[in-house]
Symmetry: C2
Subunit: 190 residues, 2 copies
Amino acid sequence: MSNIIRQALGQICNITDEEWNKLLPFIKTRSIKKNHVLLEQGSKSINFYFITKGLVRFYYSTPEGKEFNKSFHHENDFVGSLLTMKRDMPSTFSIQALEDCELIVINYKEFNTLYDEHRCWDRIGRIMAEELAIRKELREKEFLLDSAEARYESFKAEFPDLQNRINLGHIASYLGITQVQLSRIRKNIK
Amino acid sequence: MSNIIRQALGQICNITDEEWNKLLPFIKTRSIKKNHVLLEQGSKSINFYFITKGLVRFYYSTPEGKEFNKSFHHENDFVGSLLTMKRDMPSTFSIQALEDCELIVINYKEFNTLYDEHRCWDRIGRIMAEELAIRKELREKEFLLDSAEARYESFKAEFPDLQNRINLGHIASYLGITQVQLSRIRKNIK
DNA sequence: GATCGTTTTTAACATAGGTTAAAGGAAATT
DNA sequence: AATTTCCTTTAACCTATGTTAAAAACGATC
């Protein structure tokens, strides 16, 4: 099971057996059912996760009871709240399983101790953070420049595999519009 | 001059004299005038910059000739195109001086060689990328959840010092709305 | 202080998107 | 197959924002 995560990390930076053995005690596996809330907005998380199977959504909840999807993550993604992990602050969003999931759980504080052990962990952390920043910049650009219709087309182009796994309500929420408006857009396109 | 940048980096991670002397040959200083375009969208940059004085905007240009401000940066900010630097791709945005600026110029390819020299550079790169990712996540959240009026209030709260240095047209462009709409919002607030 | 360029506001009209509620469809359950 | 639940579309109406153009305010310069 943990071979999968070693392979994923190994693509970023080579990890020696010695370093790998330091990580092993900090990780375990976990299964969660569809609809389970893995992390609740407002709480602090001590873990981050690697998804070996399934699909989750990150979402913000507003005081008015609305929800907005921040992102979707599936097989081979690392997921967690950067803010909680880096600054020990309550998470600004929740994480919920949209399908039954198999996860690898990594204790963040323990993982943190590795940074001073070997440079490979800083390297891995740097490149993962850079990739995240690039993805978030792209989404910022789309919100800034593109219409909701264009954002919908981008979503379909970027995540063709997710189209059939995620219902339109969740997609609309990711695009920052209502289900009604997405329905109107879909009618226009056809 | 380069003391300033060493101090800024030193707050992230200690840099030994030996490591610092490896960086020194890769940096130089440069002055640019207001309105000068430092990086043109579509071109590749070989440098990134540290601003010691002045103010710049990052902006996207559309095929229709419109411009949208991505971000503003001033004294003590590191600026550059992550995409150009990390993936050797043309920059998706331009950089223009909004005031006369004093810059420290760092050659990215040369800087890149430092990563294998000492772990402090991976550490610095990691933490800078993490901070960038956190800022971009916050802006994503504001686009997703907040009205233009709320985003304007957030802008004023987050950058109180920039209010008098940036004209309303540029602020509207940063918020993703027109100058006309920002004017209406300002009228409503008062 | 008159003139010129820039920034900001205002007006009038057009479009995108929100709200609420109901109707249709699709899929799961009994 | 009938029932229930969830997902998607449609309709009617309302608000936020875009577009274009002009006016007003502001600042710099001569």
